[in-house]
Amino acid sequence: MALKTEQMVLNMGPQHPSTHGVLRLELELEGEIITKVTPHIGYLHRCFEKHTEAMTYPQVIPYTDRMDYLASMYNEFGYAVAVERLLGIQVPERVDFIRVIMGEFQRIASHLVAIGTYGLDIGAFTPFLYCFRDRERILSLFEMTCGARLLYNYIWVGGLSHDLHPDFVRSAKEFVTYFRPKIKELNDLLTNNKIFIDRTANIGILPKETAINYGISGPNLRASGFKWDLRKDDPYSIYNKFDFDIPVGQGSMGTVGDCWDRYYVRILEMEESLKIIEQALEILPEGDVTSAIPKRIKPPVGQVYSRVENPRGELGYFIISNGQVNPFRIKVRGPSFVHLGVMNELCKGHMVADIIAILGSIDIVLGEVDR
């Protein structure tokens, strides 16, 4: 006789400790095994795209900050690159260098949050605080440069709002030397921990073909074993001047493209970012950072899709201009938005606890999902 069983529908969120914001996941459970995940998003919708239609081009920048609030610097970077391509202006070399330095610092800061909160999701509290301690130092560097810790409005179309602080180069070098041993400590504490590996290896495997079909990009795509980094494969700014590797998932603890790989790619990327920062600090040219900022931004009728390698993946801005001071339409391809779409595929057949591990490993920021 078959026992009559019933599927349990569990609402995870919108208020839940590890949905990284206000995300609601509707789980259909067979005991603790998941049969279906339906993400419901939009709780943090702030009408970014509608707002931009009433803004001038420079006024959009503070709004881009608020999308992926863990990588604000890179959002501005991407937006500035897009509008510059639309305008066809070339920025001074120093601006590009500073942008790259800031962008890579932001990448480290963002990955630190990703790694730290991932540890928290798995249940390790301490790495989270170590990561935040180091992130605070990066934020202090930003604060020293532009006066804000989270929402910078630093990278402008055609330039930067401020030049570097005179102490910046020294402090940045200090940070690089300070931070290298910390990565090792993090590996000791979390990455190589047997419990952590058991929780993350062979969980949420994302094969390469599926990943491309789903539009996955950034560290998540690289963890699936596909060497694809826009900094190398579609170079923007001056990334082609630097020497760095693109870490890809090896499946060393389980299968290629599992949660552990996605986590570990981020760790390796932090080291690569340190390399880029070191090189950029060495050859930082002199120059005026505000000289190329146009007085009045009024692009010609046209459109551009421009993308950059955000810490989370491919951040693209699709801008249509109708020749006015306001953009006609800005559509953002947020990596988090795209990555969240693959949740159902990843979670099927796993347990409730794995949802947390998977959601943490794809590293979404709800501000960017909902815009």
Binding site: P17, E32, G123, A124, R199, A353
Partner: protein, 357 residues
């Protein structure tokens, strides 16, 4: 000994009984829980390069007192669809289970709440009350997260009792007693008489026993960790998955009772481990009381040593908590059934053979 003292003091058996049974609560469990919560916060803070509570009292040592006062003042929220009798009973049951376990714990040679011959067995049995309480809490909360937490917890605690009991049997095989007082007395003298170093046996057996005793200690410490729901086995209240597990819906004093029970339980299991393997209340080096011939000092010193040992293991529990991630529910069962239980069995057999030597 203390019983006679209270009897002489009050002149009534009833009063002596009451005082005797309330003694651990007021002298030990409450202050310990307050202290342990503070310690947990400080340990976690310093391990994470933070300061932790600093405002209430010097280095925040009164913080938990303030918290308890806050919890007492809080509204006791009972949701409409809760199963109210069970909902109210659950924290009491959890606390009773923990509190009753203290009855058989030998704090010092002068004070054992109830010096029964089935001491260890009693503790193991009575602490199973906690499972019933947790299940009740989870069920009556009428909340899916609580229910999941409670079910995980029940499965976990029951499973992990098996390796615990197997290790206890191992010890009993060597000592031949279940009485914790006698067990502690057997390990008297110096630290090399502790069970972890082979107990009060001599010769080759002792040396051969040491590795197996260390293994047994590892097993029992791991499984007691799981029994009190501490990291890495804290999945019943895994805050990142189940919000707060079985006590999600509780507030105010009822929540405080769960909290108190958790910390009291931490000490209870540490005390068992200390009593079984580390000589209970026995000093590792000898007593000042004996040295200076002050008889009343000895039980006090014993209480100190017992508390110190218990606290050390509580500290290790905290240390583990702030270091490790948590396991998944099926992995937790795997650790128990595939690793701990077979090892405990093997250990049991080997130790059994060794004692025959």
């Amino acid at each position: 000994m203390t019983y006679d003292f209270f009897f002489n003091l009050t002149g009534s058996y009833v009063w002596a009984d009451i005082i005797q049974s309330l003694l651990p609560l007021f002298i030990f469990i409450l202050p310990f829980a307050l202290f342990a919560v503070w310690l947990e916060r400080k340990v976690s803070a310093h391990m994470q390069d933070r300061l932790g509570p600093m405002r209430v009292g010097k280095h925040g040592w009164l913080q938990t007192v303030a918290d308890i006062i806050k919890l007492i003042q809080k509204e006791d929220i009972v949701a409409e669809n809760n199963d109210k009798p069970l909902f109210n009973l659950a924290p009491v049951l959890v606390f009773v289970g923990t509190y009753a376990a203290f009855a058989a714990i030998p704090f010092s040679s002068a004070y054992i709440g109830s010096n029964i011959d089935l001491g260890v067995f009693f503790i193991v049995a009575v602490s199973s009350f906690v499972v019933a309480g947790i299940l009740m809490a989870g069920w009556s909360s009428n909340n899916k997260y609580s229910l999941l937490g409670a079910m995980r917890s029940a499965a976990q605690i029951i499973s992990y009792e098996i390796p615990t009991v197997l290790v206890i049997i191992t010890i009993v095989m060597i000592t031949g007693t279940l009485n914790l007082g006698t067990l502690s007395e057997m390990q008297t003298g110096h630290f090399w008489n502790w069970m972890i170093f082979g107990g009060p046996t001599f010769g080759l057996t002792k040396i051969l026993l040491i590795p197996f005793m260390i293994l047994a200690f590892g097993i029992i410490y791991t499984s007691t960790l799981a029994e009190v729901n501490r990291t890495p086995f804290d999945i019943p209240e895994a805050e990142s998955e189940l919000v707060s597990g079985y006590h999600t819906e509780y507030s105010g004093m009822k929540f405080a009772m769960f909290f108190l029970a958790e910390y009291a339980n931490m000490f209870a299991v540490s005390a068992i481990v200390a009593a079984l393997f580390f000589g209970g209340y026995q000093s590792p080096v000898g007593y000042l009381g004996n040295l200076f011939n002050i008889p009343w000092l000895v039980p006090v010193e014993q209480l100190f040593w017992f508390t110190a040992k218990g606290l050390f293991f509580v500290f290790v529990q905290m240390w583990l908590r702030w270091t490790l991630p948590r396991l998944r529910v099926d992995q937790l069962m795997q650790v128990c059934w595939k690793y701990l239980i077979p090892l405990a069995f093997v250990n049991l057999i080997v130790v059994g053979l060794l004692t025959l030597l």
